[in-house]
Amino acid sequence: MKKEFKLMKGNEALAEAAIRAGCDAYFGYPITPQSEVLEYLSREAHNRTGMVVLQAESEIASINMVYGAAGTGKKVMTSSSSPGISLMQEGISYIACAELPCLIVNVSRGGPGLGTIQPAQSDYFQSVKGGGHGDYHLIVLAPSTVQEMSDFVEFSFELAFKYRNPVMILTDGALGQMMEKVELKPQVERFHEEFNWATTGRKNGNSRVITSLNLEAEKMEEINIHLQKKYEMITKNEIRFEAINCEDADYLIVAYGLVARICQKAADLAREKGIKAGVFRPITLFPYPYEELKNAAKNVKGILDVEMNAGQMIEDVRLAVGNELPVAFHGRMGGVVPSPEEILEKLEMKFLGGSNE
């Protein structure tokens, strides 16, 4: 079959991928810098596949509509940006506990508060470590190209249904807004599978219930133990990462999402100067590639962790490599995107006795 290419914005590529993945329903609320997802789907989806697209009255309503629809075993998603994701956290916690498959997209922007509409990675903690109340995890995928914005949609649904767990695509406003060439996947039929847990109307003698409630402490503990076992299983099976020029590297730059691409440029500049740098990019932020990073860092002299925040993922980098290895940090906040030059400068300064700040 002939391949289909298109020049698209990240947000639109993601929306197009949702239609093609046979997504059944999208519930969302406008917020910059991700409104294109809602706009694109409002325009395209229903006519093409009959997909439900509904603009809700708030992010709170959106995520609870997702909860309701996901409980019927359909492929359901929402998208938002940082403050909107904060509003959704209660609902996400319910979804995680009720073990409903769904996709949540966070095209994040700088905070805290109303912050800015420029890109940031300051939602790492709230996406990767829980965010809402209780012990739970989302599977978190961090695309670094518009192509991955598109590819990860179908992959997310696969994972969501495989583990009955919400999946988050954690990206940022820059990837959402920038245009790149995308190879589009062929249209997948919307599925009409019946799941034995889904509330679609009682099938036999006993009803099915979607709930996250158990008033008996021991039973609630059992539910928690079950969830933790599932997260262990996910950790065992689903870690994804990319290691670029790490084999002979003296220095590793660790970064995810768009920042990893900027770091790749920085690493190239370093190699031009004779500094052997490589880039380690976690693709799944939960489960985090601790062992893989540890292995990649076995022979290096130091690690530079680069993020668009005050230093959040660096905690996981330190957990991965322990105390033996120096781990430095470079971060920009509030919507500022770091340049390859400043990253290289930081690398030299920290590890090669470059000029001090």
Partner: protein, 278 residues
């Protein structure tokens, strides 16, 4: 005639002794066995919740929709409604039942979907969802139990608590100057073009129970027409937190709740013969 006068109980026992009256032809009422589990309910004695649950079960059975109905249980006293109703159900976060029901109905438009919500859930924390669900005219049935108090958390003031009514957070009576007025959300949603059938009923007397059942029946039947949201308020009691006996609470409801929340249809579909309200 020198027959000894018998007491009611004696008369009954004699009847049972003389002829076996416990036969099918003589049964005048039996509770639903399919849509209702036989588990004892946790509701306080005299509470209206159990009655409304039973009515839903009866209607679901009578309409033969047990395999096509999905309910949404709220946070509140009826949070465990799914332990009593043997139909597919989804729990919802506090206030979000109508959003959850929207999600279900949008992907399963041929199913019957209803939410069951208390006053705190529907008219305080979930007001936004309630109004927008009704305003979109979602084809769902909203059953709204209004007892003017937060039952589950122990009797705090609700949005529907009457003026001067005492609760644990309005211990001297609801002062409308500082605590706001009781909210007639049913009249409010009736104003919205998205609502199709809006009625207020009660279950404190047998005659009202029958009317409420009729209303619930209508609420489900109208869903087939796809014309908008059906909204049934049931003015109910909370003997425990009103600190009354069940009988006192029903009397109090009659004398205090109903003058402010009058029973009857507020909005009925034009050219419809189904309704039977006051």
């Amino acid at each position: 005639m020198n027959e000894k006068k018998m007491t009611g109980d004696e008369h009954y026992e004699t009847m049972i002794a003389e002829e076996n009256i416990c036969i099918n032809e003589n049964i005048v009422y039996d509770k639903p066995h399919d849509a209702l589990y036989s588990t004892p309910m946790h509701y306080c004695p005299g509470c209206g919740h159990g009655v409304v649950h039973r009515l839903i079960a009866e209607v679901v059975e009578e309409l033969g929709i047990i395999h096509d109905v999905i309910g949404v249980a709220p946070v509140g006293c009826s949070v465990l409604a799914y332990n009593y109703l043997n139909i597919d159900m989804s729990e919802a976060a506090h206030g979000r039942a109508s959003a959850v029901a929207t999600g279900i109905k949008r992907v399963l438009p041929d199913k019957y979907v209803f939410s069951y919500q208390g006053d705190g859930d529907l008219a305080a924390i979930g007001t936004g969802e309630t109004i927008h669900t009704c305003n979109r005219g979602e084809n769902i049935l909203v059953i709204f139990i209004n007892n003017g108090i937060y039952g589950m958390t122990g009797g705090q003031m609700a949005p529907t608590t009457l003026a001067n009514m005492k609760s644990s957070t309005s211990p001297f009576g609801r002062d409308v100057q500082t605590m706001g007025y009781p909210l007639k959300i049913t009249e409010l949603v009736a104003q919205l073009p998205g609502t199709y059938y809006v009625t207020r009923q009660s279950v404190h007397k047998a005659v009202n129970v029958r009317k409420t059942k009729k209303a619930i029946m209508n609420g489900f039947l109208y869903q087939k027409e796809n014309k908008g949201t059906c909204f049934i308020e049931v003015v109910s009691n909370c003997p425990s937190n009103w600190k009354m006996s069940p009988v006192e609470s029903n009397k109090w409801l009659d004398e205090n709740m109903l003058p402010f929340y009058p029973l009857g249809d507020i909005k009925i579909p034009s050219n419809s013969s189904k309704n039977n309200g006051e």
